[in-house]
C-alpha cells in the first residue's frame, strides 16, 4: 500500500515525541486507572508490530490476531500450568509467536496484495479453530486465573504499580525495537521493496527474504504484546484469535496513521478509550468503528499522526 513517504532525515521531532510519550506513561497512573493504561499499551504495541508490516513493508495482513492470541495462550499456559515466572512466560509466548511467524510467513510471503491478505486470514482462521478445539486452550472459557507471579522470582506483580512498570518497560522496549528496525538499513531496504519491488530485486536484494524477516519480527512483537496482555488480565481467550481482532488492529493503525511511528500508539489509545466509553452502548461500538474505518479510508488516509506530521512538515 502506498503511504506518505517517511524520510528518516529529521528524527528530532520523533525524539521529542518519544520523550513526551514516556513522560505521559510515567505520570498517567496518577490520574488514569492503571489497568486501562496497561490495556492501551498492549494494544499499542500490537498495532506498532502490525504497522511495521503494512506501513513499512506494504503487506496487509488480515490475520495478525493469530500472533496476539497464540502468544497469549502460550504465556498463560506457561504461567499457570508450568509455573513459569512472568518474564519467562512472556518470553515463551513471544517465541511461540516467532515460530508461527516463520511457518506462516513461509506460506504467505510468496503472494502479494489481496492474496497475501487472504492467506493470512485463512491461516488465522485455522489457528482460531485449533484454539477452539484444543484441550489446553479451554475453548470458550479460555485459560482463566492466570497467576501474575513474581518477576524474577522476587517482585510480586499482584501489586498494580509493579505490573504497570513491567508493562511500560515491555512496551517501550518493543516500541524502540520497531523504531530501530524502521530506521536501520534493513528498514530502508524494506521500504524500497514496498515502493518498487522489481527494482529492489534488480539491485540484488532478495525481496522475499526481507519480507519474511519483517513478517517474523512483526509477528514476534505482536506476540510480545499478546503474552504480556495475558498476564495483565490474567486471562487468555478466543477473542484474541478471532478475525475481528485482526480487523481491530487494522483500524487502530489506519486511524493513527499507516507508516508513521507514533500513529499506531495514538490509534490504539483512541480506539480503546472509545470502546471503554461506549461499552454501555453495546452494538454502537461496532457502528462507530465502522464509521471511523469509512471516514479514514475516504477522507483521512494519513490518520491522526500522519495529518499532524504533515501539518508540522516533520515525519512522526
Amino acid at each position: 500500500m502506498s503511504t506518505p513517504a517517511v524520510s528518516s532525515g529529521d528524527l528530532g521531532a520523533q525524539r521529542i515525541a518519544f520523550a513526551v510519550m514516556v513522560a505521559l506513561l510515567l505520570l498517567a497512573p496518577l490520574v488514569v486507572y492503571p489497568v486501562f493504561m496497561m490495556k492501551v499499551m498492549c494494544f499499542a504495541l500490537f498495532a506498532c508490530a502490525f504497522n511495521l508490516l503494512i506501513g513499512f513493508g506494504g503487506l496487509l495482513s488480515f490475520g495478525h490476531a493469530m500472533f496476539l492470541g497464540s502468544a497469549g495462550y502460550a504465556s498463560a499456559h506457561a504461567a499457570k500450568i508450568w509455573g513459569f515466572t512472568p518474564e519467562l512466560a512472556i518470553l515463551f509466548g513471544t517465541v511461540v509467536a516467532l515460530a508461527i511467524g516463520v511457518l506462516a510467513g513461509l506460506l504467505a510471503i510468496r503472494r502479494q496484495g489481496i492474496y497475501f491478505a487472504m492467506i493470512t486470514l485463512a491461516l488465522a482462521q485455522m489457528i482460531f479453530f485449533v484454539a477452539l478445539q484444543a484441550k489446553f486452550t479451554g475453548g470458550e472459557d479460555g485459560i482463566q486465573s492466570v497467576p501474575r507471579g513474581r518477576l524474577f522470582g522476587v517482585i510480586d506483580l499482584a501489586q498494580p504499580m509493579a505490573m504497570y512498570s513491567l508493562v511500560t518497560f515491555v512496551f517501550l522496549a518493543g516500541f524502540v525495537l520497531v523504531w530501530r528496525v524502521v530506521h536501520s538499513p534493513f528498514g530502508q531496504v524494506l521500504k524500497a521493496i514496498r515502493e518498487n519491488e522489481p527494482r529492489a530485486i534488480s539491485l540484488g536484494y532478495d525481496a522475499d527474504r526481507y519480507k519474511l524477516v519483517a513478517f517474523v519480527i512483526s509477528g514476534g512483537v505482536a506476540g510480545l504484546a499478546g503474552a504480556t496482555k495475558a498476564l495483565v488480565f490474567q486471562l487468555a481467550s478466543l477473542t484474541d484469535v478471532h478475525w475481528t481482532m485482526s480487523g481491530e488492529v487494522v483500524l487502530m493503525t489506519l486511524l493513527g496513521g499507516l507508516g508513521t511511528i507514533f500513529g499506531p500508539v495514538v490509534g490504539a489509545a483512541i480506539i480503546i478509550t472509545m470502546q471503554n466509553y461506549l461499552a454501555q452502548l453495546g452494538a454502537w461500538v461496532t457502528v462507530v468503528q465502522g464509521v471511523i474505518f469509512v471516514i479514514c479510508v475516504l477522507a483521512f488516509r494519513r490518520g491522526v499522526i500522519g495529518e499532524l506530521g504533515n501539518w508540522l512538515k516533520k515525519p512522526l
Binding site: 489497568v35 477452539l132 470458550e140 479460555g142 486471562l235 471503554n276 466509553y277 454501555q280 452494538a283
Partner: protein
C-alpha cells in the same frame, strides 16, 4: 476518562466523610451506598434471555425491598460484557476498583462467569450469578463470594434427562455443540440417561458456531433414536429445532429435547416449529397467581416481552441480597454472602428456598413441554408443566461437587 475518574474519587471521598458523620447503620455500608452491578449481554446472543430485562428485574427488586423507606441508598449500574471473558473481567475490575461496586448480578455465559467469580473472590466482593450454566461455579470453582442462582448444567441434564427417560424416551442421539459447554451438557446428560436405564445410540459434534444442522439431523433421523438431545444453546438450538421441523423429524415420531431453552427462544421459533419440545426450567410466568402478578408488572415495563427464568433469578437474588445486607448491617462481600446462606429465601417467584454451603441456591425445577398452537390461549402461553422436581433432587448433591468449601 481522566476528569471523570478524578470527579468520582472526589465524590467518593466526600461520601465517605459524610458516611462517617451519619448514623451507625449507614456507617458500616461502604461509601454509604449499596452499589449493585447488573452485567450481561445487552445486544448479542443472550440479550433477550438476560439483557435489559434483567436490569428491570433488579430495579423492581430494589423498589419492592423498599430501600428508600428503610433509609438505605441503593444504586443499580449496568454493563454489556458482549459474552467475552476479557470484556467482562475488565468491566468487573473497573467496577470494583473505580466505581466501588459492591455486588455483581446476572452474568450469562459460563466463561465470563468463571472469570468474574475469581476476580470477586480476590477483591472480597459479592457475585450472585443468575445467567450462566456451568455447574463448576458451585463445584470445582466454588468460592465464598459467589452464589449460583436460577439453574446450572447438572440440573438441566438431570431434570430433562431423567424425566424424559422415565417417561419412555429411552434411546437418545446427541447433537452436541463442539465446545466446552456443549461437551459438559452432553456428558452430564448421557450419564443420567444411562443411570436411568436408557441407551445412547449415537452422538455427533456440530461445529460451533454453526448455522446448518441438516446433515447432523439426518444422522439423528437415521439412528431412529426416540429422543434427539440438543446439547447446545442460543442460535444453535433455534436453528437445529427449525431445521428439524423442516425435515419432518418431529412428525416422523422422534422428540426433540432441548438441554438449554428459554421462553424467549420459543417466542423466536413460534409454536408451529417448537411444539412438542421438552426442557427444564426453574421459573415459568404462568405457574401461580404470584408469578402471574409479578409478570404483569414486568411486562408493562419490558416492551410486552415476558420474563425468562434468568430475569426471575435476578429479581429474586437482588431481593435476598438486600435483605442480607440489612441483616448483616454491612456490604462487605464475604460477610453478606455468608449471611445470604444463613437466611432462608422467600420471594413470589421461586417460593421458599435456601442457599447451600457451596453457594448453590435451592428451588424446585419444572419439566415442561411446548404446547401445540391450538392449545395456546394467550400471549406467551407456550408451556405446559409435565412434572415438578423437588429442589433436593433437582440439583447436584452437595458431596458430589468437589467444592473445597464443603468438608
Amino acid at each position: 476518562m481522566t476528569m471523570k475518574t478524578k470527579f468520582k474519587l472526589a465524590a467518593t471521598a466526600v461520601a465517605a466523610a459524610l458516611a462517617c458523620i451519619a448514623g451507625p447503620a449507614a456507617a458500616q455500608v461502604s461509601d454509604g451506598v449499596i452499589k449493585i452491578g447488573v452485567m450481561n449481554d445487552m445486544s448479542g446472543l443472550y440479550a433477550d434471555v438476560t439483557g435489559p430485562g434483567s436490569l428491570l428485574a433488579a430495579r423492581m427488586a430494589v423498589e419492592d425491598f423498599g430501600a428508600a423507606r428503610k433509609g438505605m441508598k441503593v444504586e443499580v449500574l449496568s454493563a454489556d460484557h458482549q459474552n467475552k471473558p476479557d470484556v467482562g473481567s475488565t468491566l468487573a475490575r473497573t467496577w470494583y476498583d473505580v466505581d466501588k461496586v459492591d455486588a455483581i448480578f446476572d452474568v450469562p455465559t459460563s466463561s465470563v462467569a468463571l472469570a468474574i467469580s475469581q476476580l470477586t473472590r480476590e477483591k472480597g466482593k459479592a457475585f450472585i450469578n443468575s445467567g450462566a450454566a456451568t455447574s463448576d461455579l458451585t463445584g470445582k470453582a466454588c468460592s465464598p463470594n459467589t452464589i449460583h442462582w436460577t439453574y446450572d448444567t447438572w440440573m438441566l441434564a438431570n431434570g430433562t434427562g431423567s424425566a424424559i427417560v422415565k417417561n419412555g424416551g429411552d434411546s437418545w442421539f446427541f447433537l452436541t455443540a463442539d465446545y466446552a459447554f456443549g461437551h459438559a451438557l452432553e456428558r452430564d446428560t448421557e450419564a443420567v440417561v444411562l443411570k436411568n436405564g436408557g441407551k445412547v445410540l449415537g452422538k455427533v459434534r456440530t461445529p460451533f458456531p454453526g448455522s446448518d444442522f441438516s446433515s447432523f439431523l439426518l444422522q439423528a433421523q437415521a439412528s431412529k433414536a426416540k429422543i434427539i438431545g440438543l446439547a447446545n444453546a442460543g442460535g444453535d438450538t433455534i436453528n437445529s429445532i427449525k431445521q428439524a421441523s423442516e425435515f419432518g423429524i418431529v412428525k416422523g415420531g422422534q422428540k426433540l429435547a432441548g438441554m438449554l431453552v428459554f421462553i424467549s427462544d420459543i417466542h423466536g421459533l413460534g409454536l408451529n416449529t417448537a411444539q412438542g419440545l421438552i426442557y427444564t426450567e426453574t421459573f415459568y410466568w404462568d405457574l401461580n397467581d404470584q408469578t402471574r402478578a409479578w409478570t404483569k408488572r414486568f411486562v408493562a415495563q419490558n416492551n410486552n416481552k415476558y420474563p425468562t427464568m434468568v430475569h426471575a433469578g435476578v429479581y429474586s437474588s437482588v431481593l435476598h441480597y438486600l435483605k442480607a445486607v440489612e441483616a448483616a448491617k454491612t456490604d462487605d462481600g464475604t460477610k453478606v454472602v455468608a449471611q445470604m446462606k444463613a437466611m432462608p429465601t422467600d420471594d413470589p417467584l421461586f417460593g421458599k428456598g435456601s442457599i447451600r454451603a457451596d453457594g448453590r441456591k435451592m428451588h424446585p425445577a419444572y419439566l415442561v413441554e411446548v404446547k401445540k398452537p391450538s392449545e395456546s390461549k394467550g400471549p406467551y402461553d407456550y408451556e405446559k408443566v409435565l412434572a415438578t422436581i423437588p429442589a433436593e433432587q433437582a440439583f447436584r448433591p452437595l458431596k458430589d461437587g468437589e467444592c473445597p468449601l464443603v468438608k
